[in-house]
Amino acid sequence: MDVLTLEVLWNRLLSTVNEQQVTLLRTAFSTVVRESQDLACGVFDSRGNMVAQSLTGTPGHINAMATGLRHFLATIPPATLVDGDVLITNDPWQTAGQINDMTVVTPVFHLGRPIGYFASCCHSPDIGGQVYGGGATEIYEEGVRIPIMHLFRAGEPNHDLLAILAANVRVPDETIGDLYAQAACNDVGARDLRHLLDEFALDSIDPLADAIIDRSERAMRLAIAALPDGSYANDTWADGIDGEPIHVVVTVTIAGDECTVDFAGSSDQVGRGLNVVLNYTHAYSSFAIKAAINAEVPHNEGAFRPVHVTAPEGSIFNCREPAAVAARHLLGHLIPCTVFGALAQAMPGRLMAGGSEASWLTVWRGEWPGSARRFTFTLFQSGGAGARSGKDGLQTNGFPSGVAGVPVEVFESRTPLVMHRKELVPDSGGAGRFRGGLAQAVSVSSRGDRPWAVSTLIERTRFAGSGLAGGRSGSVGSYRLADGSEPPAKRLVTLAADERVDLVLPGGAGYGPPAERLIAAILDDVVNGRVTAESAEREHGVRVRYIGPPGRLVRTPRHYTITPLAHAALP
């Protein structure tokens, strides 16, 4: 295929996947999908190779879907498929590592045979079992497990499956509505792909897939080969559960044009739902390598080939059945910045520091006042991201997950809960030449007069993410009740009607020595309340003073002075 034709077809294929994702967002029912965009979309060739993925979504879903499709094709051979079939599974080991993640696959029929597949993966708002959390000891407690099967057969819904789901989940309209949205988005992608085949008189996308996958592989190999050979290790600690922290140990080995990410030395799998399947470990590891060395390469089969991911069986990053896995993203999200910390030894002066990393996911549950109607609401939140080699970290921004928050007004309209604040936390960003991103704090209470409950899937409340090149860590997160007590995280906690929950997320870490931060940037941070004067003095050796009238509410830059203290060597 000549380079100019390839260019045309490739961009056209990308547009089919974006069309697919837009449809998913517009037709989804749960806020998890439509507001937080905890999802992924992708297109695969006839052999099950992932060719293109949507622009946004979550890397864990996208890359895990790539491996997942092979399981679909092995279980239900393509020859048995008919037009209008739609397949489904939520098996953690075969797809995205937790039972809430529904993968829906639709074959694209052209000239009477399947020539490719559209797949989408979404976090379901509820799948039965325990209220979403990390408290289960085995997968069986985490909800209804659906082996690979039909969701639609020749266009007709699998009513048996839907009836079982409806009887087992807390919010059947949302759970089943989202499955319909996934089927609809795959349909729209397929409709678009058939246009493409017609227009270019193609009977297969395989040659296009081969060409783009080969080019991706070559570009990845080139980028890896540019790094010095060697083994680069890094580690971090995670809160774990029940006071037992988990050690994350990674070794990145560069050998010629190949790269291995190995997790030997990490903790063993645990008795609660924090375990990560290898599929998901692979997803975030390959994401990290690509983001670090060549963000431009499309993420497809070719980008995976030179990257190998290994973890000892039975370890936290390659758990055995029937381990509980519901909260696996908390550890999975720590992988990219830990890999960056290792790779930074091979590529100094680049990359980004650690930070909050893991998305905070809280599930709120209770009854509406004056009725027996129950509510279940999943809230995503992001803390501060790590600083970059030339920029401060992003505030309240999810890296690596890319999952969006939920508007306060939507949260309060769909639950009887009230948020009392959602604001940035001063001094939560780690100091450095570039400062880590700030975290947010929220406080939540109920308007009702009955007990309510929350399950908090949160991380980095004990161990902060690490800075790079001399940058300091950001602050750790916290989860407290009104009286200051700390209820157990990662479990469902029942709350008194008049209780208040205070969540403070972790901040991002800094990049480079704090002494090298520009004085104007320090002043700006203090004027804007991102950094307190005390912290500026402690971390940067400068004294910022407010010289305006006391009691004044409006304090502008002219009301402050800044003087270097110990070292006059500030730039």
């Binding site: 380079v3 309209d173 509505g177 609809a184 349909d187 409709r191 007004e409």
Partner: protein, 684 residues
Amino acid sequence: MRVGVDIGGTFTDLICVDDASGSFTVAKALTTPDDPSRAVETVLVDALARAGVAAAGLDQVIHGTTLVTNAIIERKGAPTALLATAGFRDVIEIGREARFELYDIDLELPEPLVPRYLRFDVPERTLADGTISRVVDVALVEQLGRELVEEGVEAVAIAFLHSYANAASELLARDALARVAPALQVSISSDVVPEIREFERTSTTIANVYVQRVTREYLAALEQRLDRLGFVGAFRLMLSSGGTATVETASRFPVRLLESGPAAGALAAAHHGSRAGVRDLLSFDLGGTTAKFAVIADGEPLRSGDFEVDRRYRFRKGSGLPVRIDVIEMIEIGAGGGSIARVDSLGLLRVGPDSAGAAPGPACYGNGGVLPTVTDADLLLGYLDPAFFLGGAMALDVAAARSAIERDVATPLGLGVEEAAWGMHQAVNEGMANAARVHVLERGRDPRSLPVFVFGGAGPVHGFRVARALGAPRLIAPFGAGVMSAAGFLVAPLAFDFVRSWPTPLDGLDRARAEALLRSMEEEGAAVLRASGVAEDAITHEREADLRYVGQGHEIRVTIAPGQDDAALRVAFEARYRELYDRLGPAGVGIEAVSWRVRSSGPRPTLRLDVPGEVGDPLKGQRLAYVPERGGMTLVDVYDRRRLAPGATLAGPAIVEERESTLVIGPDAHATVDASWNLVVELA
């Protein structure tokens, strides 16, 4: 006699039409950023002199401007403060917490228009159902008002949680500011955009008040200039929704002036299409830096309530400041004559979104640009005549274009220079076609059914291939395609849009309440229009509702026909849903209305344009141009557009030149000039 005038980023365009005879005059001058009204005076004086008319003889001047967009992009609005519900002043900085690009670790988000030190917590609380759980602290608001004035702050946005459900606290705070600081410009979110979702509502309210003073001052200066010239007619502003408004209304909601120029382009396409009997089409406007596509359905552009200004990241959704206003729905992408080509790490050609803009410009402009651009490729391919760019007013440097393409594209890809130029031409066309295809499909329409209406300086050069890539049945190029978008100003009615959030299930709908809500908006609309001089019996209202399945987050806008009940609304919703997404939602799930809308309009002006043709042989000669179907550079007929009168036909490949643009027609296509002087190229 009416005038439409558009201030664009580079040029200020004007069209002056004698509605009695249809004769018209166009004028163009460089935009004057320091005082944009100066360029308006220049083009107006120029056009009036050539038309032999005095300013006093003008009935109406309709104006569109990028002033508001630029004030936001360049952060040149007033020093602005935000008063927010205590605990929520960071809503504009926390934003959606998402990443619009997964792999870029150097990602940046747009800087909020209000710095954190000017964002204030105001003790108050309204709950989701509109009940007030904490009364606003008026004394604190008063203290803030006094201090803000002392600090030179000129504008204040007030955006409290759930104010769309109950505006009382915002109104109290506004009154408090008015008492202590009457000089402050104040916008409240329940007035600017009474819709749920605090980030978008706050962002819109801030943008509105941020540009209010600069808009007022600018409009006052412009009115003074028009007064001095002796203009006594009506002065109107084009809104992003495609309606027009008086200066007073526009100054109250200046954020509704965003993108008013492109809106006019879509209206012009709708108008020309309807005159040619084509009521469904795809409008395609291509300039130096961006391409814009809009779907015209049954003679009208589609509208939507979502917009983003200042997209920082390759026009990617999510990378700009969200603004909730009624806009003509269009997609804008970073592709144009100035788009730069490069070879990426996969060894594939990429064109745009980086643009050489006007400075340094394409290599062939000879203004210091050295990177290969789309215009350079178009020149090398023989589509542009180096001696007839802008009618010969600007000479193009072919050698500079050739060396730039050779160095950065041909050599790395191992291609010949013409082949590389063709690759660039094709890549930018495909990029535009892909964006257009997604946009059209998202609106539930088949791109292969829509004729493409092309205009803008670079549009006619690329329209043919873009239309082919889309599978469009035909391409329509109006006479004067390079300046024709200004005609859109002259077909827009006085109109204003209203919205109220009232979430309610469609089953068991309280019809009396719905009727009262819609009626109240209609009364407000009628009052605005009457005050603008529209006769009572010329006022029309259009009702719409935003509907969705209970539990969804995205609504579909459905028109409420007179007398339509909830059952009919359900049918309309389901029909539209199936059209968009191929299948309905799960059985048994209810439908709910979220927002209710009214658009109140005055009469739509009629526009007649009498094209100044010329008699003579239309064939100017031949030149070498790249036709890949014929194996490369081929001798192609070149026509003079002014001499292609109605009824004339020609066959591709061909090039048709006029002063401000060049139309390129590929092989296997036949073109006819219709009665309105449109060149209609059949592609099927």
